[in-house]
């Protein structure tokens, strides 16, 4: 940063003579180049867009009214050019770091917009469904990623989110089937999430087991135990034990009548509202409360924290166990929040996607949420595009979010920095 000294104020602010470090330069060029490639692909898509109107459905299931007709190619071209402009601005103008994110976001929106125009030229794209589905896919990811944020900020790596999802989904299904109570199901799911977290905490904090190893083992363990119990109990007695009631949507009066986003965001199940709450609470707690400060302290520099009298292990236990609540609720979404009955390995790697969202979001609750929404968006887009039939095979579209993650981790995010003591057990002499 070049700060102008007070006596230099009258001098005309000529070109800010910022000297760029070589590393920053390569980074700028690499990221910018990547952005440009995406922008050009978007532009190319726009050029090859069929003439005709792209129709966007603004209310779910409504095929007559509330349609948005756009000239596909014109809009596509506009977005493509805007995207190229954003990429060029990033490369040429040396945009300050804090605006770079906005430029990247703008580019992303342009790219997706151009892509949608290309895919839905002459067809109807269910836009409302797209956002609805995004939220559905993202909800457990957000909860899982937040759980990761909480425990990793305290210095305990949590690869076991997938395992917590599985046990949460399982218990929620069983408890909902046997008691018929949604509240009981959610509480039970949270409790098993905490139970798995307790395993993670005890083995990593007390027995100093390598946390990455431990996480993988816990996932295998959860897969095995839920699979075993499913085979032994749920399978033969499905009517009694595996017929959970899916949570019903609760409309929030007022907010739900906001056009377009209202019904998508505020006509949801209690679990989704809990997710909104969790994002706010985790962000607040982590950055505004004493406990949060302590969590971050023991995750960055446990020894310093210990020196000033913070009980490192106790803070770590509390963070990991509270994270378990979130991950367990995330698991509950798979059964009582969405699909109903439990099936073996039904979380299908979502816990690992949550982990990726956590890292893409740079261990920040808001960043992790945005990354989770991105994953949700891509997954939902794939199923939508299969419905409106694009020339791209569905399997290749399914790859997109994963490839995007690799690109993001390798190119855009670059060297992400985890909490410094993440993964290191704290041993007092």
């Amino acid at each position: 940063m070049t700060e102008t000294t007070p006596d230099a104020v009258p001098a005309a602010p000529a070109k800010p003579n910022v000297i760029e470090a070589p590393a920053d330069r390569t980074r700028r060029l690499r990221v910018g180049g990547l952005m440009l490639v995406f922008a050009l692909i978007g532009l190319l898509l726009a050029i090859f867009t069929k003439s005709g109107k792209a129709t966007f459905q603004l209310v779910s299931g409504d095929l007559q009214n509330n349609l948005l007709h756009l000239p596909a190619q014109a809009v596509g071209l506009l977005l493509g050019i805007l995207g190229v402009g954003a990429a060029a601005a990033y490369i040429v103008r040396r945009v300050p770091q804090r605006y770079a994110g906005w430029l990247a976001a703008l580019l992303g929106i342009c790219f997706i917009g151009a892509f949608l125009c290309w895919a839905s030229a002459g067809k109807t794209f269910p836009l409302a469904n797209q956002f609805q589905g995004t939220l559905n896919f993202a909800t457990p990811l957000i909860l899982g990623a937040l759980a990761g944020v909480l425990s990793e900020r305290a210095g305990v790596i949590n690869i076991a989110i997938e395992g917590q999802f599985l046990t949460g989904a399982f218990t929620a299904a069983v408890v909902s089937s046997t008691t018929g109570s949604a509240a009981a199901a959610l509480i039970a799911a949270a409790a098993t999430g905490v139970l798995m977290a307790a395993l993670l905490a005890v083995f990593s904090i007390k027995y100093l087991v390598n946390q990455v190893v431990l996480g993988v083992v816990l996932v295998v363990f959860a897969t095995g135990i839920t699979g075993f119990l499913f085979d032994e109990f749920l399978q033969p007695d499905a009517n009694k034990l595996n017929t959970p009631e899916v949570l019903s949507a609760v409309k929030i009066p007022g907010l739900a009548s906001i056009p377009f986003f209202g019904p998508i965001l505020f006509n949801q199940t209690i679990l989704v509202y809990l997710t909104y709450l969790a994002v706010a609470v985790v962000t607040f707690v982590l950055f505004q409360t004493r406990w949060g400060l302590r969590i971050r302290a023991v995750g960055e520099h446990p020894k310093a924290a210990d020196t000033v009298g913070i009980n490192v292990k106790r803070i770590r236990y509390s963070a990991v166990l509270s994270a378990g609540i979130l991950a367990g609720l995330g698991g509950a979404f798979f059964t009582v929040g969405y699909a109903g009955s439990f099936s073996k390995e039904m979380t299908a790697g979502n816990g690992f996607i949550a982990l990726a969202a956590l890292i893409m979001g740079r261990w920040h609750p808001i960043g992790a949420t945005v990354a989770a929404l991105f994953f949700g968006f891509a997954t939902q887009l794939q199923s939508q595009l299969q419905i409106i039939q694009t020339p791209i095979p569905g399997e290749l579209l399914l790859m997109a979010p994963y490839l995007a993650t690799i690109i993001a981790v390798a190119g855009l995010v670059g060297r992400v920095r985890a909490p410094k003591a993440d993964g290191e057990p704290y041993v007092t002499e």
């Binding site: 790596i157 100093l208 087991v209 083992v217 295998v220 075993f228 085979d231 399997e395 981790v409």
Partner: protein
């Protein structure tokens, strides 16, 4: 914090707690054995609480407690007997165990080698699939003379795995992208790539609508041992283990890999190229997983299907963890897990105990092996290891 130790001028060589005459491999063996015993106990508990007869006997526990105990004992006994017979009971059983162990050993080596370089390779699954895709394609689309065809197909498999793994090493070296994330993502990419390929005319068997490829030429198949499912791929697994041992312990490259794995910063200071080590480790690891892919598709399965990898790539992680990243340990762990898988299938058949029980057993074994302190707190007689806890995986910043 009770006693503040003063700084000793010359610290006395640390007093070994419970010094024992046992060499470290023996101690590790004892810990592993104890872990297996503990896992079997956990498994027994699961069998007991889910057994119908035990449940009935529990109903009148007060009247005849022995009934419950004998029912429990017989439930556990029957199940474990079936497990043991299925794993070692006959020539067929043993060959089945070895067949199951074959890809686990290669996959385990792929994870172990990366561990020793300080990388956590969760991507054996994707590398295995990539290898299987290329090997299968060469196997059914090309037609070469006997002998040559198998070799070319195996090489194609090695290449596929090496590419899939190499990307990870390259990205790690060049951009610092964390290998755990990249390998997880590449696993999914490989799964969907395979699913897509099996719908294309190049891969799908003519006349079929399900995702299955033509059967690989008999020239490209591993030779079978007698009537069993065991094939020549098993010998390659053993050779691969010897190769990895040689690479790690007898070659210059291996020394660099281990140095980088032990301390990347110190290695960099000493003039080694850390990035090069990452790339080499991931290329070789990928090739090993690719070899496991050839074993699946040219030995066990023959047509390529979307289930070609089953869960081998993930089981390979637990195998490597149990084997503590050493080639010999990985072979032994692979054999154990192969036996558990083969025995588990028999157990499911005979006593209707779900196969998933073996997954639980495997997880618990590795959990206990990874926590020697816990095992020692249960089995007090176990001596403390010296210099144990070779760093297997580091945190995100590692």
């Amino acid at each position: 914090m009770s006693t503040e130790t003063t700084v000793e001028p010359a610290p006395v060589p640390a007093k070994e707690p419970q010094r024992s005459g046992l060499p470290s491999w023996a101690i590790q063996g004892l810990v592993s054995l104890s872990a297996i015993v503990l896992a079997l106990v956990v498994g027994a508990i699961l069998i007991i609480v889910t057994d119908d007869q035990v449940k009935t006997a529990m109903g009148y526990f007060g009247a005849a407690p022995m009934d419950t105990i004998s029912a429990a004992a017989s439930a556990v006994g029957e199940a474990y007997k079936a497990l043991a017979l299925g794993a070692f009971g006959s020539v067929t059983a043993i060959s089945e165990s070895l067949t199951q162990a074959t890809p686990l050993i290669c996959g385990g080596l792929a994870v172990s080698l990366a561990f020793r370089t300080g990388l956590f390779n969760i991507g054996a699954q994707g590398q295995l699939i990539a290898g299987a895709i290329l090997a299968a394609y060469v196997g059914f689309a090309w037609h070469l003379p006997a002998g040559l065809h198998l070799i070319v197909a195996i090489l194609a498999g090695l290449l596929g795995g090496a590419l899939w793994g190499g990307v990870v090493g390259l990205l790690k070296a060049r951009t610092g992208a964390h290998e755990v994330i990249v390998t997880i993502m590449l696993n999914y990419v490989a799964i969907y790539l395979l699913a897509w390929l099996l719908t294309t005319s190049a891969f799908q068997r003519p006349g079929r609508t399900d995702p299955i490829s033509p059967i690989v030429d008999s020239n490209a198949q591993y030779p079978q041992f007698g009537d069993t499912r065991l094939h020549g791929g098993f010998i390659l697994s053993v050779l691969a283990a010897i190769f990895v041992w040689w690479l790690l312990n007898r070659s210059t490259i291996g020394f660099e890999l281990r140095a980088v794995g032990a301390n990347a910063d110190a290695s960099r200071t000493a003039g080694m190229s850390v990035g090069r080590a990452y790339i080499i480790a991931m290329v070789v690891a990928g090739a090993l997983a690719g070899l496991a892919g050839t074993q699946q598709v040219l030995g066990t399965d023959l047509p390529l299907t979307d289930g070609v990898a089953a869960s081998v790539g993930f089981d390979a992680i637990t195998v490597a963890l149990l084997g503590r990243g050493t080639p010999l340990g990985t072979v032994l762990a692979g054999l154990l897990f192969g036996a558990l898988n083969a025995g588990g299938l028999q157990m499911q058949l005979i006593t209707q105990t779900p196969l998933t029980l073996t997954t639980v057993l495997q997880a618990v074994i590795v959990l206990f092996v990874a926590a020697p302190a816990l095992v020692r707190s249960i089995f007090r007689f176990l001596p403390k290891e010296r210099g144990s806890g070779a760093v297997l995986a580091k945190g995100w910043n590692g």
